[in-house]
Structure formats: C-alpha cells, structure tokens
C-alpha cells in the first residue's frame, strides 16, 4: 500500500494509459477498434524508429521498408505455409530484426547524412522491390491474409464483461495491445539500463563514448537490429489487422508518417511514440473527414483536400515542430511542468528533454 502511495505520478499515468487502452474496444465500434489497432501498430513502429533516432542518433528515413519486410514475412507464412498468424508474429519480428542488424553493419560506415539519404532511397524503392518476386509476394495484387476469429476463451471473457460478442477486429486489437505493452516495457527497460545509456552516449559524441569504453560499433548495429525488430513486429501486426498487404501499402509516405510520429511525440522518450502515433494516425483522418463534411465547400476542393491533406499537414507539422518544439509533445509537457514547478515551489529546473545532437559536430 505504501509503495503505491509513494509511486511517482508517471506510474499513475502509465496505469491510467493501460486501463484506457484495455477498455477502449468495449466502448466503441468494431471499426474504431481496428483504427486504434492501426494507431497502436504505428506506435510500435515509431518506438522502434525512436530507439534508432532518438537514442542512438542514427536517422533512418526508410523504416517503412522494415515494416514491409515484417508484414510480408507473416503474410507469406500464413498464406503459403498455412501457419497460425500468432505464431508468425515472433518469426517476422526476429527475422526483420536480424535483417536490420545486418543492415546496421554497412550503415556504420555512413555519415548520419548519408545514412538518411540511403534509407530514404530504400523507402522509395521498396514498393518496386516487393512487386518483382511476384511468385512469392503476389506482385501488384498483394496477398490476402485471413483474419482469425477470436479464440473461445477470449470471446467468452469479453462477452462476460460487455455482454456483446467479440468481433475479430476487437480480438486483433487485444493482440496488438499485448504486443505493444511488451515492447514498450522492453523499450523502457532498455532506455534506463546499460544499453540505453550507451546509445545516448554514442548519440552525444562517438569519440567520447568510445573513449569511455563503450563498444560504439556494437551498440549502433544493436540499435539497428532492435529498431528493425520493432518495425518487423509492427509490420506483421499491420498485415494481421488490415488483412491485406500489397506494394502500395508501403509507400514512402509511410516512412514519413513514422518520422512525423517520432518527432511529434518527442525523440528519446518512451511515451513520445504513443502520443506521436495518435497524432500521426488520426490527424490526416480527422482532416480528411472534416473537410468533406463542410457542405459549403465545392466538391472539387473537398476531394483534393482529401488527397493532399495528409501530405500538407505532415509537412507543416514536421517543419513547425522542428523549428519551435524540437523535443515534441513530451518536451513541451516537460517544459510546461518545469515552469509550473518553478512558479509553484521555486525549484530550479531539471535537465530538459534531449534532441539527438549531431554526433560529428560534437
């Protein structure tokens, strides 16, 4: 009891968030549940990107490619080898993680700028790379993934609580939530222990990190591997929740969406990716739904806004956040909290959030 009372407020926030996400499907339609699944999947992928960019200071603009790899791994295993989807999730995650780890080795040789450039090129080429081996990937048509029905136990438990039948979208939501909770818990542990400290040290200055005995190359590749592991999990869950993968599911804009999420939420923070994912996922949807609902606007305007809205809003957000709030929402909240604290108690300000500094300029 006393432990609970002395728990810092952020533990309460975490508990509240978990309860919120658990209860969510019980109060909304099956369709909305699948939307929130998507947002959570995005959060997992963004967490992965955040580990790479925020903690280890390597900028990847091509994380959509790793998501595609995870998604196709699962889809192919389910479609061709008739495996149970749930089993394919860890397989896809580990496989993508390994590929990411291998990718991280040549990436060591690249300056941060070149890494950004190469990964961006990868993101652009991804759809055509998927299309080509069409025997395996189904080419332009893609692969349909049969969505599983909820298992008896889960269905019964759900009915007992809500009095309604659990749909497959709701079941998938809980699968996604389960994976997300594990991965965020892992990320939190990673961040506060030795690997996280080592990565931050590398981000803030490779030479100094190496001088203090940190295995720079090892941790940088490890960051790539872990980051890809997250993206692969997200991709696999993505295939599950949409029930369909095709080359056009993984355009460049997906990689940009991940970057928007990471930056908006706040780099090098654990809650950042969740907040970032919610913004990055729902903002374009909200904007593209709001505009067509305005009947006074001519049809032509509404249809173009629907198409161009996400790009315009993402672009504007990226620029504005980087210009005015480089630590994202989490940074803003922390700064606000600090100001409030100082006003109320006259406490001197603790160290604010961190931007990944450019390793080579240090």
């Amino acid at each position: 009891m006393s432990r609970i009372r002395t728990a810092p407020p952020r533990y309460w926030l975490v508990a509240l968030a978990v309860i919120f996400f658990f209860g969510l499907p019980t109060v909304m339609s099956s369709y909305l549940a699948s939307e929130w699944s998507q947002a959570l999947i995005l959060a997992v992928a963004i967490m992965g990107l955040n580990i790479l960019v925020g903690y280890s200071g390597q900028l990847s603009l091509g994380h959509g490619a790793f998501m595609a790899l995870g998604a196709y791994t699962s889809a192919i295993l389910v479609h061709r080898y008739k495996m149970d989807f749930l089993v394919t999730i860890p397989i896809a995650a580990v496989f993508t993680g390994l590929v990411g780890f291998l990718f991280g080795v040549p990436a060591l040789r690249l300056s941060p700028l070149y890494l950004a450039l190469a990964t961006f090129a990868l993101a652009v080429v991804t759809p055509s790379l998927i299309k080509r081996p069409d025997k395996l990937t189904g080419g332009v048509q893609g692969i349909l993934v049969v969505q599983p029905d909820p298992p008896q136990v889960a269905g019964n438990a759900y009915s007992a609580v809500t009095g309604t039948v659990m749909t497959s979208d709701q079941w998938i939501y809980y699968v996604v939530l389960f994976c997300a909770l594990i991965l965020f818990w892992l990320a939190w542990n990673l961040a506060r222990h030795r690997p996280g400290r080592a990565m931050r040290a590398i981000r803030d200055g490779e030479v100094a990190a190496a001088a203090s005995g940190i295995n720079v190359a090892g941790y940088k590749t490890l960051a790539f591997g872990i980051s890809a592991f997250y993206a692969g999990t997200a991709g696999s869950l993505f295939a599950l929740s949409t029930g369909f993968v095709s080359p056009d599911t993984f355009p460049v804009s997906l990689s940009i969406q991940l970057l928007v999420g990471a930056v908006v939420g706040g780099l090098a923070s654990i809650p950042g990716p969740v907040l970032g994912a919610i913004v990055a996922y729902f903002l374009p949807i909200a904007s593209s739904q709001w505009v067509p609902s305005q009947t006074w606007l001519p049809d032509q305007v509404t249809s173009t806004v629907k198409n161009a809205g996400p790009a315009v809003s993402y672009g504007a957000i990226l620029i504005l956040i980087m210009m005015f709030a480089p630590n994202g929402i989490v940074g803003l909240v922390k700064a606000g909290y600090t100001v409030l604290n100082r006003r109320l108690r006259g406490v001197s300000d603790p160290k604010s959030g961190q931007m990944p500094s450019d390793p080579e300029t240090v």
Binding site: L59, L110, L113, F120, V263, A308, G315, A316, L318, E360
Partner: protein, 293 residues
C-alpha cells in the same frame, strides 16, 4: 551496336536531367553541409508553374526562363522563411525540415493541381534524324543542348564571376568571408535560389517524358541522389559526370540486364547509392576530408 549507341545517347539526355538536379543538391550541400530532400519537389512545383504559364498561352521558350526566374525567387524565399531560422541547428534537424518541406510542397501541388497526370508539351519535335544508321531523336538532342547550356552557365557563374567567387567563399569559409565583407547569409539564400532554378530545369525537361503530377520527381530525385553521391557530393563537376553515368547506366541496365526493366531501374539507382557510399563514400571527384557533416 546501333541500338547500343541509341541507348547511350538517350541515356546522356536523361543523364543531363539527373545532372541538373544533382547539381542543385551539390550547390546546397556546399553552402550548408545539407542534403536538400525537398529539391525534387521544389523542381516539381516550378514545373507546375511553367505548365500554368504555358497553358495560359505563353510559348515554351518564354515560359522556360520565366519559370527559372520564379524558381530562383522561390528558392530564396524558402531559404529566408524556413531554413534561415534554423541555420545553426544540428544537420539531422535540418534534414527532417527539408523532408517536411518536400512533403508540404508535394501536398500543396496536389492541393492546387490535383493528382491526375497531365501531358506537358515538349518544345522539341518528336522526329528522329538518321545519323549513319543511328536514329537520334530531336528530343534527346534538345534536352542535351538545354541542360548542357544551363550547366555551362552555372559553371561560368561560379568560376568566373565575382558573385560566384563570393558564393564559393561564403559556402566554404563563412567566418573568413564575413571579415572580407561578404554578406554570407544572403549568399546562402542566393545558393538556394540558384539550386532551385537549376533543379527547375530538370523538372521542365523531364515533364514531357513523364507525365506532370505531384509525384513526378520522386524517382528522379533518387537518380539525382545517386548521381551526386557517385560524383562526390561536394563536387559540381562530379554531379554532372555522375548524372551522365547514372543516366547511361540505367538505360543500358534496363535494356541488357535480364529482369531490370521498368520500375526495377529504380533499384539500380538505389544500388549505385549504396555501393558508392560503402566503397567510396567521397565519390569520384570528392576529397577525403569531411566537413560539417
């Protein structure tokens, strides 16, 4: 053999287009140690402006220079409004901002002109002339001529004018240049303007070949990256040579390598980028020292 020569020639023509965009990237890289991910989208926007002028009855050869001037002004405005306030930020922050700019410009073009592909009038006749068995299209020759003249102009401007001299000095040695009375900040803006105009050339030249739509430059920018990286991202000459090599390689690979037709040509671009970055990160013409990266 004739087919080969034809492929090389049309490869040089597309290579000239890549070279223009790659040169634009190099200009900005030299000015501030930054790869401008929005370069292709800025060129696309300029091309739409050119299209708007042409559809309002302006002839191509008047619309072309007018567009370049507008692109030049646009580049300066972008530098002043978006880039200058964050000039001193870490380079990765700047990269994210240019990526945001790319996304924003793409969306704006889609917002104004929509996503339906449009045919862009070519200033050159589509006929071919028979040169000893090799059929040379006027379009290829025209594109080579235009990009060649533009690249030559940029070279003369940079190497043989006072403005070019101060531009180079400001890019490499901002502190020392300031002490010599060079308005460094405006030189950076000028660099953005110049890059924007040179990039616009690639857009105006490629639009008749592809169709004009907001995502038109997405593949071209990858080839331009490949060209800039291959030539050495600090070297204007390297960008031009790199562009030509990439253009010819892509064309030949598409024709002779089994399975590399169509959209997999883009993968060749990616392969060039990755191989060069890993094996020879300074490119063909780059110097070993890495500044401000």
């Amino acid at each position: 053999m004739q087919e080969f020569l034809q492929l090389v020639l049309s490869g040089i023509a597309t290579g000239g287009i890549y070279a223009s965009l790659a040169l634009a990237l190099v200009l900005i890289y030299n000015a501030m140690g930054l790869v401008n991910f929005a370069q292709g989208e800025m060129a696309m926007l300029a091309t739409f402006v050119g299209y708007a002028l042409i559809t309002r009855g302006m002839s191509f050869w008047i619309a072309f220079p007018v567009t370049l001037v507008l692109a030049f002004g646009g580049g300066i405005v972008i530098q002043r409004v978006v880039i200058k306030p964050v000039e001193k930020a870490p380079v990765l922050t700047l990269v994210i901002i240019t990526l945001g700019l790319a996304t924003l410009v793409n969306g704006l073009a889609g917002f104004i002109w929509g996503y339906l592909p449009r045919t862009f009038p070519s200033p050159f006749s589509s006929d071919s002339v028979d040169l000893g068995g090799v059929f040379v299209s006027y379009r290829d020759v025209g594109v080579i001529a235009v990009t060649g003249v533009v690249l030559l102009c940029v070279y003369l401007l940079l190497q043989h004018t006072t403005v070019g001299l101060t531009l180079r000095a400001a890019a490499h040695h901002p502190e020392a240049s300031r002490l010599l009375g060079v308005h460094v900040s405006w030189m950076l803006a000028l660099g953005w303007g110049l890059a924007s105009a040179v990039g616009a050339v690639s857009g105006m030249m490629v639009a008749p070949v592809l169709f004009l739509e907001p995502n038109m430059m997405q593949t071209i920018i990858i080839y331009a990256f490949a060209a800039a990286v291959l030539g050495g991202i600090e070297s204007p000459l390297g960008a031009v040579v790199g562009g030509l090599i990439v253009g010819v390689t892509i064309n030949l690979a598409g024709a002779y390598l089994p399975g590399v037709g169509g959209d997999l040509q883009l993968a060749v671009g990616l392969a060039i980028i990755i191989v060069v970055l890993i094996l020879k990160p300074n490119g063909l013409f780059g110097q070993a020292a890495v500044r401000r990266v």
